[in-house]
């Protein structure tokens, strides 16, 4: 990812952890730029927003969105006072392709296009590859919406955090849990904004607020190209699940944690055509920024109100 980046910190710990996977390959961090940290430098610790894309390999529109998001904020911070203010008060941590092994595999040829999981070799008697990274987190791990069949697309791994990718995110969020205000994880398809938790019997303490924020984001999305997104908990509008990164983030206290499921609703599904990339990203950008601005204004109220005087 090139561009005029204000402060890009290649987080070696994250990169080191993101290595592993297929045949225990490591990624040369001088070639693979795994994570961006974007914001104005500060002498005091800053609050942060996290966004990951591409936990699931076949959801190609998600990494495209992360790249679009980075491009937008970098391209507008000088002229857009809102983005400028966000950069002052927040750092953005963005991983455009969290599941690097899986993503690369899904590009290999047409037969691999619909791969979902990581590419770690099966353990024990298992001859299949991969764990569903979004079932591997230590958040009600193994409780619902998973399969113990290691060949299944929702196999949650031999143990929680068996996958280096999930471990890397866990370690990073754990180390920064007092700074991260907002956790966004980008997926496709479905046109949904999902709020915690994936388990039908567990409610987030700020459920009402999360719904409000989510619905406002869906409204912002619709204003761009008319696309409808539904908002709710996963068990309500999609299906129950556990061990997700979104749930983990909420569990360790990050108050605003959302999953975006981008276009479409099943016509092309995972294989979204090129001419929908730009509009899909444009609308999702407004949705994400709606959430980011809400979170920012809640924490930096004085900075927000002076602007209107």
């Amino acid at each position: 990812m090139k561009g005029s980046v204000i402060s890009v910190l290649v987080v070696l710990a994250v990169l080191d952890r993101l290595a592993g996977g297929l045949e225990h390959r490591s990624y040369d961090y001088t070639k693979y730029h795994t994570m961006d940290e974007i914001g104005f430098k500060s002498t005091t610790p800053k609050k942060a927003v996290w966004m990951d894309c591409g936990i699931h390999a076949r959801e190609w529109i998600a990494p495209a969105f992360c790249q679009h998001f980075v491009k937008e904020i970098l391209g507008s911070y000088k002229t857009d006072s809102n983005v400028n203010m966000l950069f002052k008060n927040l750092d953005f941590y963005i991983t455009p392709v969290l599941n690097m092994d899986g993503y690369i595999y899904s590009w290999r040829d047409k037969t691999t296009r619909l791969w979902r999981k990581s590419r770690s070799p099966g353990t024990g008697n298992c001859t299949c590859f991969g764990t569903d990274l979004n079932r591997n987190f230590y958040a009600n791990w193994g409780m619902v919406g998973i399969s113990r069949d290691c060949c299944s697309d929702i196999y949650n791994g031999p143990t929680a955090l068996s996958e280096p990718e999930a471990k890397a995110v866990t370690d990073f969020l754990g180390a920064h849990q007092n700074e991260v205000l907002c956790y966004l994880t980008i997926h496709s398809y479905g046109q949904l904004i999902l709020i915690p938790y994936g388990h039908p019997n567990i409610s987030a303490p700020n459920y009402e607020e999360l719904m409000e924020v989510g619905l406002a984001a869906a409204k912002a999305i619709k204003a761009v190209h008319g696309t409808s997104y539904k908002v709710g908990t996963a068990p309500d509008i999609l299906y129950a699940n556990s061990g997700t990164s979104r749930d983990f983030a909420r569990l360790i206290g990050i108050p605003y944690s959302f999953t975006f499921e981008l276009r479409d609703k099943g016509n092309y599904g995972f294989i979204l055509p090129e001419d929908q990339i730009q509009p899909a990203c444009e609308e999702a950008y407004q949705g994400a920024m709606s959430i980011v601005n809400y979170v920012h204004d809640k924490n930096f109220k004085s900075a927000a109100t002076t602007a209107t005087l």
Binding site: W107, K110, R113, L114, R116, D132, V144, G145, S147, D149, S152, D153, I154, G190, P200, K222, H225, G226, T227, S228, K230, V231, G232, P235, D236, I237, L238, Y239, A240, R263, D264, K265, G266, N267, Y268, G269, F270, I271, L272, P273, E274, D275, Q276, P279, E283
Partner: protein, 330 residues
């Protein structure tokens, strides 16, 4: 003018269906080890709500998706495939015979009209109206009863469906005829893989095959659906034209069906025969050979579909009587 019509559907039985009578000779031999049983649904999923349902929640949407598969089996064509736009109202109740019946009020749009890669979001913009539109296809208001039976082994949901103004949407008879004429010629040997390709591209020529694959897949998705599934066709792995006998256009499709709750993509092979006819009953014969990555024994089940209206019928402009003849095993 010949019109595309598809009436008789020959479906092979997959492992979830009752075993075929021993005397049946399968029209196509698909051999291989039977697939493992699908994962049992989670208890949480089974506890779907009864009474008025939230239209944005999954139980209403999954039932509407089933109604949509039914709609596509009856009214889909190489130039028409319907997609779910929005559920307006939904309710569910347990029925005496066992099972749950959903009552739905929803809108659909024709994904097949206009360019397949057109920005589909424009249809969403008008979701509050029931006007017939020309942008990305008209929005149709439909109502349906969808019954999910509770049987020891899975049986297909039963659907009753009514869509307003179905007869008013632009006829695709001309395109269907041109399509048939083009490919029925003796030297036609269509063969293609991966529709769409990895980047979502579907060539102009392949779009009718893409839609036809989904129509055929709708028979399977309809039959395999339950309250715990939500199917879409992920892609067409291959389409191969078979040698036509007489007036029959014969195609073999291998499709990948994606189920949202389990996230599994199932591979299905079906062969599709179409017989173009102006008057008589037309034939769409589909043999389903597999679920998952391996083939299973095929046998035959005939399911009828009403014949499409010919030019003379269109004057009458009314909903064709929709009936499903009893399943016949060959």
């Amino acid at each position: 003018m010949k019109t595309f019509c598809s009436v008789w559907l020959l479906l092979s039985l997959v492992e979830l269906s009752p075993a075929p009578p021993a005397s049946q000779e399968p029209p196509l031999a698909c051999t291989g080890a039977p697939d493992p049983a699908p994962p049992q649904p989670e208890t949480a999923e089974d506890m779907a709500s009864t009474g008025d349902l939230e239209p944005t929640h999954y139980p209403a949407r999954r039932a509407a998706q089933v109604a949509l598969h039914y709609l596509n089996t009856h009214h889909g064509s190489p130039f028409r495939v319907f997609g779910l736009q929005q559920v307006h109202k939904a309710s569910a109740e347990d029925v005496a015979a066992g099972g749950r019946k959903y009552k739905l009020d929803f809108s659909v749009t024709d994904w097949g009209s206009g360019s397949a890669t057109m920005n589909k979001s424009s249809e969403e913009f008008f979701s509050n109206t029931t006007d017939v539109l020309n942008i990305a296809g008209p929005a149709l208001r439909c109502s349906a009863d969808v019954l999910f039976p509770r049987t020891e082994r899975h049986s297909a949901p039963e659907v009753q469906l009514h869509c307003e103004a179905l007869h008013q949407i632009n006829s695709t008879a001309q395109e269907e005829d041109a399509f048939y004429q083009k490919y029925i010629s003796p030297d036609s040997a269509v063969s293609a893989r991966d529709i769409p390709d990895s980047f979502g591209n579907v060539s102009e020529e392949m779009q009718p095959f893409w839609r036809l694959a989904r129509v055929a897949a709708s028979f399977i998705m309809l039959r395999e659906s339950s309250e715990n599934t939500e199917f879409n066709m992920a892609k067409v792995a291959s389409v191969t034209q078979q040698e036509s006998s007489g007036e029959q256009l014969m195609l073999e499709f291998v499709v990948l069906l994606h189920d949202l709750p389990s996230q599994v993509t199932h591979k299905h092979t079906h062969r599709l025969w179409t017989l173009m006819d102006t008057e008589a009953v037309c034939v769409l014969t589909v043999c389903v050979c597999s679920a998952g990555d391996r083939s299973v024994e095929a046998a035959g089940v005939l399911v009828s579909r009403q014949r499409r209206q010919g030019p003379a019928d269109r004057v009458a402009a009314q909903m064709p009587s929709r009936h499903q003849t009893p399943k016949l095993t060959l």
